[in-house]
Symmetry: C2
């Protein structure tokens, strides 16, 4: 077992990248030890600072599961290889993954989803896709408000920097990994502005990578195609919610969730891990499959530009699988040759270093450089003009025409009520009596003729609402950017 | 062909349901004629008013594709069986389906997704699920605003009546169709208030149907399971966006999209159709498969309580498929016995009326009554108290501490700035410098001590913002309902 002993030496050669390692809980320490042994045997140029996170830290009374000095180590080294942790049962413990992603600005979640047919059962033997999921914004900003008895709201926020960073990441990743195509999924036929921005930025950035094919699918049809014929796709980039759902779908249908790694990439920091959990019942028995964490480590090596080491390890791992040297989780009579433990599997991978698989396609990206991910540079501001305001009202009546008698006087001189909608559907003027109405009404005010609406006009509308007993719950200003309306029409308008 | 000639007779027996029929474009007229012939041969107690919609109406200059008097017929009869239509190329033509759904308040989209193995190829031979999708609210309310250079917003609205109606529909449908389980998919671990409401209402209504199993899955894991092992599910009910994506996934992986029908159900009106389009290139050749529209018609018969007729037609259709009598689209050597045209297929179904399939499982719901879908009754109001306000600001700085110097004076006496977030993440007080910030900031004001915040306080904050040159783009009031906070905390708060 001597090959595992040098894993935590802090090597001091030149071109070393100093990384932070957390061995985590359950099977974490075992799989981390052999993962580090494999990549170091392959010549990984890394130096290691180890920190403690997870169960022990939580149970010592630290609700975030990580000590402040460990945070400092992560922030200093910037590259973090993390084994699975156990979050104790009971309230009050914050998810370390969520906190890390949010505070370190890890904007990209990267999930390769590869079938390992015939060694792992799957209905999709040809599958080899990578889901690149935006990780910071969209509905997951978690901004929710209930303002009427009946209606609750969540804000979906999509930003230009968010879109640019994730789309650039997807193309840079595809370029480094010699992948042929990047696909974008959005629902921009419905969400023309938010998903429309994501699609627009995708088209802009795709032009900078003419050697890589690009395409856009509406998410519903794209998801259906992906679930049925995943071999039609290569790299797929998506906003947060879609990526959350479809990365789980893609991972599941490979049949290989337990063997998959993932990366969370930020402008300065990045975290690499296995998808699976800490499996406490398997801990300490030398049975766990280290492949998931090893896949995370290979992504790390690619990220820091050690593509030669990454390629070597990946090909050795593929060869070990096709040699039939399998841990218990994928061992099956017929396809497997030898049932091995964690350490023996790692030894087999190390013995295969320098070799290539024969059944699986060998990977080839040695010599490719680290990803070119420039810091986001803010674009010049557009000319922004206030063009009106949507005033949302809590009103428990049911006939929009009655509301349309109360609201117009709020407009004051120079502005007018132009529309009332309920859940987006125009109900005044000229609504349909079949339209079901909740107690949540949007009243759109716009200037009359050449009048210019101002922030003061909005305040005056609110003052008149107070005076007349109208229950205003929120406002949304309407703007034009460089003369172009930047708000949606009502449905049916 | 005489059996097809009585299809459009307006029968005048008692217990007749008068329905509106549109034969549509392309293959529409052929498949509608045989569909009506089949259900009438099975004893459907319907009388028919035919209207014209679609291409001819669009091209006559009516951008909505339907004449006002046809709308009146639909609204009067309330039950609408619709063949596929062709929307002409070019701008300005409004989607008739979207308009119909929105204006008629068709809150439920129902999509049975059934494998027809071995007659239709699929990787999921055991699949038999029904997706019940909320159809009016969620992000598809289409309320979008861009208010800063960098950030665009879409509102996700989830309402209690919307949730109650769709969940009740799912259970009523399951009960009528003798289905064993209703599953709910949400993302309420992240969207605790919006998706949380959907899940809560699901749990409430499930209690009224103790004979039907119920369960909830987080959407990402649920979608993965559904795509991999759809036979684990039966009826699945979901908010709009999830249902849009997953109903396409489910339909696709059956392999039978071309043979599927769907229903759109409202409180007063309902529309039934095939999922597929008008296939103009196949029109007029007696080759089209009428199964999709026939499935829509069977859903219609169940909806209006003619479950005996629906069961008879469905079993005859299944028997015809397993007899190997197939139209060109599913004909294949080995499993098919006879390649037939549209009319011959319909004749075979009619000849099989009264018989049951032997390979497929026969359906059995004759004798079950129409669905019990009471009109939504508004709940009593809760005690609503204003607890603060989120003021959103467009600011192009990058250091939250600078903003935190400008904003506190806006609070005035009795209120205070308690938090600033950027895309939901707390950046003040005690932010992390790695957190990436856009130009879109949320400033939360709350009362100090026992002070009571009022709508006037909100107006005063806005007035001070104007005076100090702070660019307020929107507000969201914070409320308590019956003393319970009804707004989310900041991430990291």
């Amino acid at each position: 077992m001597s090959i595992f002993n040098f894993a935590l030496l802090n090597c001091k050669h030149k071109n070393m990248t100093r990384i932070t390692v957390a061995k985590g809980d359950g099977i974490g320490p075992e799989i981390m030890d052999v993962t580090l042994a494999i990549i170091q045997a392959a010549g990984a140029r890394i130096a290691i600072d180890e920190i403690e996170i997870g169960e022990k830290v939580y149970l010592s009374g630290n609700t975030s599961g990580i000590a402040p000095e460990s945070w400092e180590t992560i922030r200093k080294n910037k590259i973090f290889l993390k084994a699975p942790i156990t979050t104790p049962q009971g309230g009050g413990y914050k998810s370390l993954n969520v906190t890390t992603r949010k505070f370190l600005g890890l904007y990209a979640n990267v999930r390769p989803c590869v079938s390992l047919h015939p060694f792992v059962s799957t209905k999709h033997p040809e599958m080899d896709i990578v889901i690149v999921r935006e990780n910071e914004e969209d509905l997951y900003a978690g901004i929710e408000h209930q303002q009427t008895d009946e209606v609750v709201q969540c804000l979906k926020l999509i930003s230009r920097p968010g879109c640019e960073k994730i789309v650039r990441y997807a193309f840079e990743y595809a370029k480094q990994q010699n992948r042929r195509k990047v696909t974008c999924f959005t629902k921009d036929n419905i969400m023309k502005q938010t998903d429309g921005l994501f699609h627009q930025v995708f088209d802009e950035i795709a032009k900078e990578y003419p050697e890589i094919e690009n395409e856009h699918w509406i998410i519903d049809i794209g998801a259906a195609k992906m679930a049925d014929t995943p071999e039609a796709f290569d790299v797929i980039v998506m906003p947060n919610l879609y990526g959350d759902v479809l990365s789980d779908v893609a991972a599941q249908i490979t049949g290989s969730v337990g063997l998959a790694g993932s990366a969370n990439i930020g402008e300065t920091c990045a975290m690499f891990e296995a998808i699976h959990g800490s499996a406490p019942r398997r801990a300490g028995q030398n049975v766990a499959n280290p492949s998931g964490l090893l896949q995370g480590a290979i992504m790390m090596l690619n990220h820091i530009g050690q593509t030669d080491v990454a390629e070597n390890v990946q090909n050795a791992w593929l060869k070990t699988l096709e040699d039939g040297i399998h841990t218990y989780d994928i061992y099956k009579e017929g396809t497997s040759k030898q049932r091995v433990g964690t350490r023996e599997f790692a030894e087999a991978v190390i013995a295969n270093l320098g070799q290539k698989p024969a059944i699986f396609k060998a990977v080839s990206y040695a010599g490719n450089t680290a990803l070119n991910l420039p810091k986001y540079v803010r674009k010049p501001s557009a000319q922004k003009t206030l063009a009106g305001v949507d005033v949302f009202v809590h009103w428990s009546g049911t006939n929009p025409d009655e509301l349309a008698e109360k609201i117009p006087p709020l407009a004051g001189d120079g502005n007018a009520l132009t529309m009332i909608t309920n859940r987006g559907i125009k109900v005044w003027p000229e609504g349909f009596q079949e339209t079901f109405c909740t107690d949540h009404w949007r009243c759109r005010f716009k200037p009359v003729g050449s009048n210019q609406v101002t922030p003061a006009s909005v305040v005056e509308i609110l003052q008149r609402a107070i005076a007349s007993g109208v229950d205003v719950i929120k406002t949304e200003n309407l703007y034009e950017f460089d003369g172009k309306a930047a708000y949606s029409l009502g449905q049916g308008q």
